[in-house]
Symmetry: C2
Subunit: 338 residues, 2 copies
Amino acid sequence: MNKKRTTLKDIANVLSISTAAVSKALNDDARISVKTKKAVKQVAKELNYQPNHLASALRKGKSNLVGVIVPRTNSSFFSSVVENMEEVLNKAGYNIIITQSNESFEKECKNIDALLYTQVDGIIASMANETVDLSYYEKIKSYGIPLILFDRGENDLNVDYVGIDDYKSSHMIIDHLVSQGCKRIAHIGGYRRTRIFNNRIRGYIDAIKKHDLPHDDELLIESSLTLEDGRQQIEKLLALKNRPDAVYVASDYAALGSLQVLKERGIKVPEEIKLVGFGNEPFTSLVTPSITSINQHSEQIGKLAAETFLGYLEKDVVVQSLNKIILDSELIVRSSSE
Amino acid sequence: MNKKRTTLKDIANVLSISTAAVSKALNDDARISVKTKKAVKQVAKELNYQPNHLASALRKGKSNLVGVIVPRTNSSFFSSVVENMEEVLNKAGYNIIITQSNESFEKECKNIDALLYTQVDGIIASMANETVDLSYYEKIKSYGIPLILFDRGENDLNVDYVGIDDYKSSHMIIDHLVSQGCKRIAHIGGYRRTRIFNNRIRGYIDAIKKHDLPHDDELLIESSLTLEDGRQQIEKLLALKNRPDAVYVASDYAALGSLQVLKERGIKVPEEIKLVGFGNEPFTSLVTPSITSINQHSEQIGKLAAETFLGYLEKDVVVQSLNKIILDSELIVRSSSE
DNA sequence: TATATTTGTTTAATCGATTAACCAAAAGTA
DNA sequence: TACTTTTGGTTAATCGATTAAACAAATATA
C-alpha cells in the first residue's frame, strides 16, 4: 500500500549521506569506502529500493531497451528468433519491446514511431511484406540508433542484415527433387518485390536451368503465400494440360493449402506429385504426409542479430553500412517428397 | 546524422519564448494564445521535434506503457489475445511491452522485474504452468499498479481476471460426445493445481455423473499437455482392458499427439475412438481428421483485459479485488468426433 | 480614474539518478 | 615540519518535460 517508492534520497536520509554517495555506492564506484557500500546496500535492501529506470535512462541518454518488429509473433520462426534474441540481450542488460506489424505497412510505421518514442537504444526488425516505402526505416537511421534487419531485409537501407541464403536454398530443394526423379518442377513463390522471395525465384530458375529441365512460365506462380492462396494456386497447376510432378512452395502455410487440395482431389503425395515447403513450421511434421521443408536456423538468426546490435555499443558514433550475415539453411526431407 | 534531437528548448530558442510556453502550446493549454500555438507547432514540425518520453514519463510519474506476460507468443490463442489487447490500448495512448515466460517460473519472475523496472503503468498476465509461488505477483500489487490476469489466473491474488468458463466448457464437450453415442469417455487433463485445468477436470467429472456414465479413475489422467505427453498418455488409455470410446484432451497439442498415435496404430478416428481437443489452434482444422475443439474467444479476452486496465485510470488509488469476467466458450465440432 | 479581472507568458521547482568538479581529512613523503 | 597525494566523500548541475506560482500587460468593471 506504500505507493511511494523508495528513492536514492530515502536511503541517503537514513544514513545521513548524500544521494551522490548512495548512487556511487550502488554502482560500486571505487571512490566509495567498503563500509559505506555495505551500509548503503543493506539499507537499500531493507527499504526494498528499486531504481527508477526513467530517471537513469534520461540522465544517461540510454534506455537499455531494444525494439523488435516482426510481421507476426505466432509463427514458430519469428517466435524462436525473438526468444534467442532476448536471451542474448538480457544477458547484456537489455530488455526488449516486441511489436508486430501483422504484415501491414501502416502498423509497421506506428510501431516504429512508438519504439522511437519510447527511446529504445536500437531496433531489430523484419519487414512486412507490404513495405516498399522505406522512409520510416530511414527515420530510424536518422535518429542515430542502430538498425538491424533479419529475414526480411532490404539492401537499399544499407544496414546490417542477418538471414539465410534463399538463392542457395532453392538450389538445395531443386537438387533434392531432381535426385528423387522429378522432371517437371513448379514453383509457387512469393512476390518478386520482396527480396527473399525474389532470391528464391532466381534460385529456382537457375537450378532448373542447371539441370536442363523445362522452365515454362506456367510453372512459376507468384502468390501471397497464405494457406488459402496455396489452395488457389495449386488448382491452377493441376489445371495445366501438362501437370508438374513436383511443387516447391515458398512458404509452409501455402504448401499446406496445396497439400489439402491434393488430398481432397485424391492425388497421391509424394507418388504422383512431390511437395516441398519453406520455413520448417512445426505443423510440417504433424500433417500427413509430413512436408519436406527448409529450416532457417531461427536460433542463430536471433542470436546473431542481437550480437550485431551489441557490437555497436562500443562505438561512440553509429555508422552503419550494408553488412550481411548469411547463414546456410538446412533441408529437412520428409514424406511429401520421398 | 544530427545525433542531437530537438528539445523543447530548441523550439523555445527559435521563437524566443520560454520552454514552459512551448510545452503548454504543444499540449493545447488554454492559457496559450492561438498565435503562439500555431508558431510553436510550426517550428516543432520544421525541427522534427519528437518529445522525449523518458522525461515526460519521469515528471508525470506515468510511462504510458503496459507490460504483458504470456506463457508463449507462438500460440494462436495468446498471439490473438495480445493483438486485440494492443489495439484497445494503443487507442488509449498506451504502448505494450510483450514478454514471454516460456512456462518457466524463473523467467516469469525476471519478466516481472524487468517490467517493473521499466516503470510500466500496469501489467496484464497469464501465468506460467509452473507458477505456484505468488510472491512476485504480490510484488506487482505492492507497487500500486493494476494487475489483470487472463486465461491462467489465480483466485488467491484477488485481482481482476478475464477468461472462459472452463467448467462449463467441459460440460459442452461431454454433452456433445454423449449425443454422438459415446459411453466411456476419458479425459487427459492438465495439472490440478492450475485453476483452469482443475475446473476442466471438475466439469468433466460432474458432466460424466450427470449422464450416469462410468467415471473410473483410470479414465482420468493428469498430463503436462505437450504433444509428446499426449502421445504417452493415450498409450496408457489404449492399454486398458476396457478402452474408452472417446477422449477429451485439455489441450490441442496433446490432442494432436494422441491423434498421431491413434493413426499409427490404425485405430479409426472417430469411428473407433472420438477425440476432442481444447483451444482451437489453427492446426486442428488442418490435420486429418480435423479435431473438434473449444474456441476461447481470444479477441474478447484481449479486449476485455485491456479495458479492465483502462478502467483503473480514472481512479486515483488502485484498490483491486477479485473481479472475474467469465466468457462463454464455443464448441467447434469437426471430423474427429462425428 | 482607480481597481479588479482576465490573458498570456515567465520563473523556478520538480521528477530521480548520474556525474563533473570540488573539497576536507587522512596518509604519505621529503 | 611542510608539502603532496590519496581517500572518501559533498555540491551542484544535468538530462527534458511539466506545472505550480508569480507576474506584467491588457481588458473589464465600478
